[in-house]
C-alpha cells in the first residue's frame, strides 16, 4: 500500500535535491529551478497530508503555493533579465561587486 510515509519520503528526497541544487549550482536560472523543485516537494507533502487527514486546507495551501510560485517566477526572471542586460552573465559567483 502506498501510504503517507511513501509520499513523505519522496517529498523529502525532492526537497533535498532542490536544496543541494541551490547550494551547488552557479547559474542563477538553475538555482531558481531548484527552488521551484523545493516548493513542489512541499506541495507533494501538503497533498499527501491533506489526503491522509481528509482535510481541505492542505489542498488550498497547494493552490496558494502554486500561485505564489508563478508570481515569484515572473519576478525572478525579470530580475535575472535585468542583470543579464547589464552584466551579460547569470553566474551567481560573478555577480559579486559587494562581498557576500
Amino acid at each position: 500500500m502506498v501510504s503517507v510515509e511513501h509520499y513523505l519520503i519522496l517529498s523529502g528526497i525532492l526537497f533535498a535535491i532542490g536544496v543541494i541544487g541551490v547550494l551547488t549550482r552557479r547559474n542563477a536560472i538553475i538555482v531558481f529551478m531548484c527552488i521551484e523543485l523545493m516548493l513542489n516537494a512541499v506541495n507533494l507533502s501538503f497533498v499527501a497530508f491533506a489526503r491522509h487527514f481528509n482535510d481541505m486546507s492542505g489542498h488550498i495551501f497547494v493552490f496558494m503555493i502554486m500561485t505564489v510560485a508563478a508570481a515569484e517566477a515572473a519576478v525572478g526572471l525579470a530580475i535575472i533579465l535585468a542583470i543579464f542586460r547589464n552584466r551579460e552573465t547569470v553566474d551567481v559567483d560573478e555577480i559579486n561587486i559587494m562581498k557576500w
Binding site: 531558481f32 516548493l39 530580475i79 559587494m98
Partner: protein
C-alpha cells in the same frame, strides 16, 4: 456535500482593502495620467496610508476572529498595523525627493510600497498558516522588485538577485516547516495547532520538531538572525536607500509579527523546546551583528549589521516569552522604526545625485555645517546605541527587564555587553560629524522638504518615546493577548 459560507466582515479587513484599492488606483493613474498627474502618486499613497491608519485604529480593543478563523481582529494586529503604516509613510516621505534624484521615479514604486504594506498587515492579522504565508510572499515579492528598482545600477541588480534567491530559498524552508507541522497536527489553523499541542499525547513528535526547526530557519532568514543573515548587508547596501529603510523597519517588524504569532501563540506549548534554540540564536545575532558593524566603513552596511543586532535584541523578548516580553517586543519595534528610518533619512539627505556619500568619513564636519542634521543623526545614533533619554534606551530596558523576570540572567548580561560594544560604532558616526574637520570638497545637502519632515517626525518621536514611554507602554501592554482563532 453541504457547506456553509464563512462569516464575512468587510470592516475587519478594511485597512487591507483600502490599501489594495489605493494601489489599484495608483496603477491606473500611473498608466493613464500625463507627467503632471504622476506627481500626485506619492500624495495619494500618503492619503491611502492615512485612511488605512484610521481604519486600523477603529479595530483597536476588539477581540474576535473572523473569516472562518483566518483573520484576527485584535489589538496586537492593530499595533503592528500602526508600525507598518508609520514605516510606509516614512518611506514615502524619504522617497519623494530621493527617487527623482536617482531617476527611479516610476509609478510602480509607490504601488509596490503599498502592496508590500498590505502583505505586512496580512501577516500580522493571519491566524492561519496559509494567511501568514500569503502575507509574507506578498510582502517579499514586492520588496524583491523594489530592491532592484534602480535597474540600471549593478549594485541594485545584485541586491535584488541575492534577496530574491535567498528569500525564495528561505520561503521553501518555511513552507516545508509549515507542511510538517500540518502533518503532525492535522490543521493549518493556529488555534487548532495550539489546542492539539496542549494535550499531552502527541502522535508525531519527530515530525513536529523537524517542522518547528524548519520554521525557525524560514523566519530566521526573513528577520535576518545569525546564521541566516548573510544576505542582509549586501541587500541593504545595494538597494535604493529609501527601500533599505523600508526593509529595515517594515519587513523586519512584519516578519517578527508572524514569528511571534506562530511561536508564542500556536507553538506556545513547546516553549521549553524552542526557547533554548532562540536563546543561542539571540546571543549569536547580537554578537555577530555588533562585531561586524564595528569594522564597516560604509554607513549603509554598518546600519545593516546594526539591524541584525537589533533583531537579536528583539529575540530576547521572544525568548522571555512572558507578557512583558511580548509587550516590550512591540514597543521596541515601534521605537526601532523611528530611529532606523531616521538614520536612513540622514543618509538620503547627505547624498547627492551620482554621489551617494556612503562612507562614514564623508560625514566629517556635518555637525558644524548643518547643525540640525547633526543633532538629528546624533539622536538616532544615541537611540540605536541605547543611551538615555531616547526610545532605544527605554526599549532595551523593557526587553532586558522582561528577560530578567523570566529568569534569563545570562542572556541579559550578554545583551548589555553587546549594547555597550554597539555604542562604540554608533558614537563614531557622531564623533566624525562633530570632531573631524570638513574635507576638501564642499559638502552640499539636497533640498528635500519631505525628507526634512521625516527627520523632524522621527527625531521628535525618538525623543518623545524616550521621555514619555508610558504613553505607548500602557496601551501596548493591552495588546499582548495574542488572539489565535
Amino acid at each position: 456535500m453541504e457547506f456553509t459560507l464563512p462569516a464575512i466582515k468587510i470592516g475587519a479587513i478594511a485597512p487591507e482593502l483600502i490599501l489594495v484599492c489605493s494601489a489599484a488606483g495608483l496603477m491606473m493613474l500611473d498608466a493613464f495620467a500625463k507627467e503632471r498627474g504622476k506627481t500626485l502618486l506619492p500624495i495619494l499613497s500618503i492619503v491611502g496610508l492615512a485612511l488605512a491608519m484610521v481604519a486600523s485604529l477603529k479595530l483597536w480593543g476588539k477581540s474576535e476572529v473572523t473569516f472562518a478563523g483566518m483573520v484576527a481582529v485584535d489589538s496586537y494586529r492593530v499595533f503592528f498595523n500602526i508600525i507598518f503604516i508609520i514605516g510606509a509613510l516614512l518611506t514615502v516621505l524619504l522617497s519623494m525627493n530621493y527617487t527623482p534624484r536617482e531617476e527611479i521615479d516610476r509609478g510602480e514604486y509607490y504601488v509596490l510600497v503599498l502592496l508590500a504594506t498590505v502583505g505586512m498587515m496580512v501577516m500580522a492579522a493571519g491566524t492561519d498558516l496559509i494567511m501568514i504565508f500569503l502575507g509574507l510572499e506578498l510582502l517579499s515579492i514586492s520588496v524583491y522588485v523594489l530592491a532592484g528598482f534602480a535597474r540600471g545600477q549593478l549594485k541594485s541588480n545584485e541586491a535584488a538577485l541575492k534577496y530574491f534567491l535567498l528569500g525564495a530559498f528561505a520561503s521553501g524552508f518555511l513552507l516545508y516547516g509549515m507542511a510538517l507541522v500540518y502533518g503532525a497536527v492535522g490543521s493549518t489553523n493556529l488555534a487548532m495547532i495550539a489546542e492539539t499541542l496542549a494535550t499531552p499525547h502527541l502522535p508525531a513528535r519527530v515530525l513536529l520538531m523537524v517542522g518547528v526547526g524548519l520554521l525557525v530557519v524560514g523566519f530566521g532568514f526573513k528577520v535576518a538572525i545569525v546564521p541566516f543573515h548573510m544576505w542582509t548587508p549586501d541587500v541593504y547596501e545595494g538597494a535604493p536607500t529609501s527601500i533599505t529603510a523600508f526593509m529595515a523597519v517594515g519587513v523586519k517588524a512584519a516578519a517578527f509579527a508572524g514569528f511571534a504569532r506562530v511561536f508564542i501563540g500556536a507553538l506556545g506549548a513547546l516553549h521549553p523546546d524552542w526557547t533554548m534554540v532562540l536563546w543561542v540564536l539571540a546571543v549569536a545575532t547580537m554578537t555577530v551583528g555588533n562585531l561586524a558593524a564595528i569594522t564597516q566603513s560604509n554607513i549603509k552596511r554598518m546600519l545593516a549589521y546594526s539591524s541584525i543586532a537589533h533583531a537579536g535584541y528583539v529575540l530576547v523578548g521572544m525568548v522571555a516569552g512572558n507578557e512583558v516580553g511580548r509587550a516590550s517586543m512591540l514597543f521596541y519595534l515601534l521605537a526601532y522604526t523611528f530611529m532606523q528610518a531616521g538614520a536612513f533619512g540622514v543618509v538620503i539627505m547627505l547624498g547627492q545625485k551620482g554621489e551617494p556619500r556612503l562612507n562614514i568619513t564623508d560625514y566629517a564636519g556635518v555637525g558644524h555645517k548643518y547643525p540640525l542634521i547633526g543633532v538629528a543623526m546624533a539622536i538616532f545614533m544615541f537611540s540605536l546605541g541605547g543611551i538615555p533619554p531616547t526610545a532605544g534606551f527605554v526599549g532595551k530596558f523593557y526587553l532586558f527587564g522582561a528577560a530578567i523576570k523570566a529568569g534569563y540572567v545570562w542572556l541579559v548580561i550578554l545583551g548589555v555587553i553587546n549594547s555597550a560594544i554597539s555604542i562604540y560604532y554608533y558614537l563614531r558616526v557622531t564623533v566624525v560629524m562633530y570632531m573631524h574637520e570638513e574635507g576638501e570638497e564642499v559638502l552640499a545637502v539636497s533640498r528635500a522638504p519631505a525628507v526634512a519632515l521625516a527627520l523632524i517626525l522621527t527625531s521628535v518621536a525618538t525623543l518623545g518615546l524616550g521621555i514619555f514611554p508610558s504613553w505607548i507602554w500602557e496601551p501596548v501592554q493591552k495588546t499582548v493577548n495574542l488572539l489565535l482563532g
